[in-house]
Amino acid sequence: MKLSIDRQIYSDACISKVVYWLSAQYAIERTLDGTIETLSISRNDGHPFDETELRSQCLRLLNDYKLRQTIDDETRDIRTILYAKAFADDENLTVE
């Protein structure tokens, strides 16, 4: 089964995460042509599988990872500050 994904919509990192989770069951070959990445997917054990189901699973995962990516990108700095505050030994709290 082949699945085409636009890299302008889903980043390399998003696609990689989907491939990571699917790779327990599927062998996935990634090819890039311009901004379109194509995943060629087959099952590791050679058994047939429900392509429609897998396609919608892939799209759901892609969307989730894209949302997570946005959350990560937007919160990286504040998270760093939070951890620095939590694990530096401040005595008291003050108004920012």
Partner: protein, 289 residues
């Protein structure tokens, strides 16, 4: 404002410190005034403390906002501890001033383990709290104040006054308290006294207790589930499901407490908080047990 004499037999002995306040709570039963009265009350309170019965169990500092006294608050507390060493000191404050950790530290130094601070929280959501407190930025300072008081090991009574603007989120507030303010000594859910702003602006603020009992019970249950101390003030027992009676306290000061005609036939009258004599109207739904 005329102060009542300190009386060993009363359950409400109060030092009134100022009519000023840096909050402007929409349901305030004692609306603040901008007058320069701190020295006046300070001098008066010194005399009151000097002549107070030596074994007074509890003395409360109220206002207005007592922390507006600045360092005079600590001199007053030191005097109380010197004159009345066995008396517990309860300060009713909006907690904002304690956002300054030095101020919290100074309170600990003056009051040590004799002092408890009662702090109202109106919502878990900043803007709702600020609207009810009538002051932008109140919420953040209050929460930081609570943390700084806790870090000094000062006992805290968290007070939640139920009103039309906050009753829907009482369960969420309970979760918030459990997660973020688990250090408070106890949480008190308080029925509103229908005087002052609560009465004059009643269409915005007033809500009959019978309407928020489900949310109140859910909130009380949640805190109790996680073993936080929780009490209900100012709600007559006939409005509460029986399983929540143990949380209800006889909370209304003796001098402003009353019962109605129908209370005369009630077998729980002795345990019940009754009503505020000061309130302009009775609650709906009351009936004798």
């Amino acid at each position: 404002m005329k102060q009542r004499p300190l009386d060993i037999h009363s359950n409400d002995n109060t030092l009134f410190t100022t009519e000023q306040c840096n909050n402007h709570c929409i349901m305030c039963c004692q609306p603040p005034r901008k007058i320069d009265d701190i020295d006046h009350y300070y001098q008066q309170n010194i005399k009151r403390v000097l002549s107070a019965p030596k074994d007074l169990p509890l003395i409360a500092l109220t206002g207005g906002e007592p922390t507006l006294m600045g360092d005079k608050l600590f001199s007053l507390i030191r005097l109380i501890r010197e004159q009345l060493p066995n008396t517990e000191i309860h300060i009713l404050s909006n907690g904002r001033k304690f956002a300054d950790p030095e101020y919290a530290k100074a309170l600990k130094l003056a009051g040590d383990n004799k002092v408890m601070v009662g702090v109202p929280l109106h919502s878990d959501y900043e803007k709702d709290h600020d609207i009810i407190a009538g002051s932008k930025g109140a919420y953040n300072e209050t929460i930081l104040g609570l943390y700084n008081l806790a870090m000094q090991g000062i006992a805290i009574e968290l007070r939640i006054v139920m009103n039309k603007l906050n009753y829907m989120r009482l369960p969420q507030m309970a979760t918030f308290i459990h997660k973020n303010l688990s250090f408070v000594t106890w949480t008190a859910f308080m029925g509103m006294e229908r005087v002052g702003f609560a009465d004059t602006k009643s269409t915005h603020i007033w809500i009959e207790p019978i309407e928020y009992i489900p949310q109140l019970c859910q909130a009380v249950q949640l805190l109790d589930d996680f073993r936080h101390e929780v009490v209900i003030f100012n709600i007559p027992l006939c409005l509460l499901p029986e399983q929540y009676h143990p949380f209800a306290e006889k909370s209304i000061s003796d001098w402003k407490n009353k019962y109605t005609d129908c209370c005369e036939q009630c077998r729980l009258k002795e345990q019940c908080c009754g009503f505020f004599a000061t309130s302009t109207q009775l609650y709906t739904g009351i009936k004798p047990y």
